[in-house]
Structure formats: C-alpha cells, structure tokens
Subunit: 248 residues, 2 copies
C-alpha cells in the first residue's frame, strides 16, 4: 500500500510526524506537506503563483517533500508530479484541534483529504479534538488501524472520511462512531486594535458555540469519548431545496 | 433592503462594480471586498494575521471598504464590525469565469456567499460563466431581479444560491433553471520550470474536463443558454454512505 501523507499544520508539526511513524508499519509513506502552518486555508489552491518544493528528511533519510502551497496544492502536486505511482490512499493530519461542524469548511486538513478524494483516491482527514493535548500516540496508532479498515475497501468517488479523536488513550476511549457533520457554529468577534504606527487593524477572535451538539453528530461523539468518523463528500447541492424549487 | 456585496476578484474588478450599480436600484448596498484578487482561496479565513481595512469610494462617495482578507473574511468582518445593521442579504460577484462543478469548492466567490449563509443571512454567489466575455450588463441587471425573487423569501439556514450566467443578453438567454452541482472535474498538470536563479518551481495548469455535463446540472444549463441556479449548503455529510456505514 502506498500512502501520500499531508497536513495543514506544516511538515514539522508533531501530529504529522507521529502519523508518519505509525503509518510506516502498514505502508510505503511519502509526505508532501506545507513548509509552514496553513490553518484555516479552506480548500484554497495556488494558481497565480509558482510553487516551490524541497526534499524533506527524517532521521537522515528522504521521506517526502515540503512545499510553499496549501494542503490541497500539496496533494495535487504530489500526485501529479512528485510521487512515481498514484497513491492508494491520501491521509491528512494529525491536526492539532478538532475539525467538526462548520470547521470542516475552513479546515486545511480536511481540504488535503478532499483533494485526494477529488483525484479518485480513498482519503481520510485526521484530527486530535483537543486544544490542549499534544499526545498523538493513540490517534497515530489507531489511524493505521482505520486506514486498513476503511481505505482498503473502496469508498464512493469524491467521498472521504473525516476522523476526530478524543484526547484519550487506548484504554479509555469508548470505540468508534459513524457520525454526521454537526451544526456547531462559531461566535465571531473582532478585536479592533491600533498598531505602533497608529493605524487600525482587526483580529478575529472566534469561540465555538457548543450548544448544538446533536446526538449522533461528530461533536457529540467526541465529547462522549468516541472516535468520530464522518463520511463527507464534495457535492454541496442542497437536494431538499433543489426539489422544492424545481416544483415551483 | 440592505445588501452586503463582496467578490474574490478584488474591489476594483469590473464585475463587482457593475453589480454595485445595478443593486443600488433595489437596496442600500455596502461593498466589503478584498483589496486585490483572491481567486481559488476556497473558504479560507485569516486567523494568524491582522486584517487591514480601508474605506472605498465610488464617484467620490464612500460606498464600502476594501480589506486585506479573503472573501469569507470580508463578510465575517463586514457583518461583525463594519456595517451598522445586519444585512438582509449577502451577494458575492460577479465573478469573471464559471463557478460550476468542483469549482464550487475552490471558489472565493462562493465562499463569500457561504459565509453569509453561515451567519444566517440569505446569500447568493454570482458568476459570468465565460473566460472571454467581460460584458456584465445582463448578469448585473438580472441579478437584481433574482435577489428580489429569491432572497426576499427566506432560504433554509446555511443554504445559498450559486448563480451562473451564460455570456448572453436579455434577448438571447433561455430562462432560468434550478440545477445541481455537476461533477465537472479538472485535469491538472504542472509545468516544471526553472527560475532565473536556476531553481526549480512548479506552476498549475488546469483544464476543465467537460465530458461530464449531465442533464440538469449547472454546467449543462449554462451550456444550453440558461441562467443556472444551484441551491448549495454547508452540510458536507455524505448521508447515503453514512446510512450504509451505520448498518455495518
């Protein structure tokens, strides 16, 4: 099995390196990841600028590439130009922090896996759903199990799995749950500040509104100690409204 | 009616200015748009950097703001901090070029309207589905009609309309069609080049693969001369696969 591994926290982030080490036990892994953090880039790609690429070494051995692009760029460029054979799976993560609810739309981690799905490759986005924990050992180890379980089967085209791990270990997690994307929203405010040159600027300060943790959702599963697995796809059509508007 | 108007081609683009002029006939319009082109940024937002904002004048009168952020930033910041009252509608466009098929995921234009939908405001993304025409007169005029027709009714929460105009005029277009997001995909290649300093770089060269213009889709409607109206939403759950995986 050949895996292309990316993320949005950048190639030096702990999460991707922990995942690299654990995936090497089940596959031939090539990292293609951004050269620094690209959080909240959504499904951005680079079309008006060139992309730079450098080889990336781990323990003295070349194990992949870092690029000046977004996670989606890394997967597109990796599959098209950097790896010799089309990968059997794309894995993106492990992200530092949850990717649940509307965060799925903003997430660079998810967009890396989504680009894999768009290229017809079974793909998975992986996040550690905690703002404080940096213990990736269980999530890294267990992702290898999930990759074997889900990505070796075929997924429908343009579909990926969005996996969120609770900050627990092998002994204390409750199992896995197939979930849906919750409506967890953010309450945004902007700090209005003044720079040293006395010019105004704004800085986003978002807070997750966790009153909408519906039963069966990604948010609720993680809160209850389950590994949340949400199948997501690239068709954004609102089919219910489509039918309603068609009838008018 | 109060409209917040944004785009991804930047505040000086022809498309947004044509739309501003036509929307002024039906509403009080405030522009909040990027200070330069932000194409293909997807649903990116700016969290690690401050946002700069400048007032924007048209014919000597302040009509809005340009910002250093993405279209989603502009809408978030506009609604939160720049306009006095919550807008009744968010309109994003007119984009130079189609936003159909998977382009919906990459599109900054769509993401501006999607941010409006996430904030609970009826929203519409508008594109001129042509790479060569820059005649926005029909699209600008007719968008005002569609805004009155669709956005004054309530849309379901977190849903927006993605509108693509064929490059035709009032006399020659065929009418409107409610459509779904097609599977139009891109065939990507990367040009590998060498810079003046003899260092390698890559540049994306994408070509739309138009063999998948299914009947009823956004792509097909525009090709046939219709104005395509696709209801899209922010729930990316693949419900069919969700049910299937749940049953295992």
């Amino acid at each position: 099995m050949r895996i292309l591994l990316t993320n949005d926290d950048g190639i030096y982030a702990e999460g991707i390196l922990a995942l690299y080490d654990s995936l090497c036990a089940i596959a031939e892994v090539t990292i293609v990841a951004p050269d620094s953090e690209r959080s909240a880039v959504g499904h951005g790609i680079t079309i008006s600028d060139p992309l730079r690429v450098k080889e990336f070494k781990r323990n003295g051995k070349i194990v992949g590439y870092c690029s000046s692009g977004t996670p989606a760029d890394c997967v597109k460029l990796g599959v098209n130009s950097l790896v010799e054979q089309k990968p059997d799976a794309v894995v993106s993560g492990i992200n530092a922090g949850p990717n649940i609810g509307v965060n799925v739309l903003y997430s660079g981690t998810v967009s890396g896996a989504m680009e894999g799905a768009l290229l017809g490759i079974p793909s998975m986005a992986v996040s550690l759903a905690s703002w404080t924990s940096n213990d990736y050992s269980f999530a890294a180890h267990h992702t290898a199990v999930l990759v074997k379980q889900f990505l070796e089967q075929s997924l429908p085209p343009s579909t990926l799995l969005n996996v969120n791990f609770p900050p627990l270990d092998e002994q204390s997690y409750k199992g896995e749950k197939i979930t849906f994307q919750s409506r967890v929203a953010w309450t945004d405010t902007y700090d209005q500040r003044t720079d040293p040159g006395n010019r105004r600027y704004y800085w986003l300060k978002g807070e997750a509104n966790d009153t909408l943790h519906e039963d069966g959702s990604d948010a609720k599963a993680v809160q209850q100690g389950y590994v949340s697995i949400t199948p997501i796809h690239c068709d954004m059509t609102d089919w219910r409204l489509y039918e309603k508007l068609k009838q008018k």
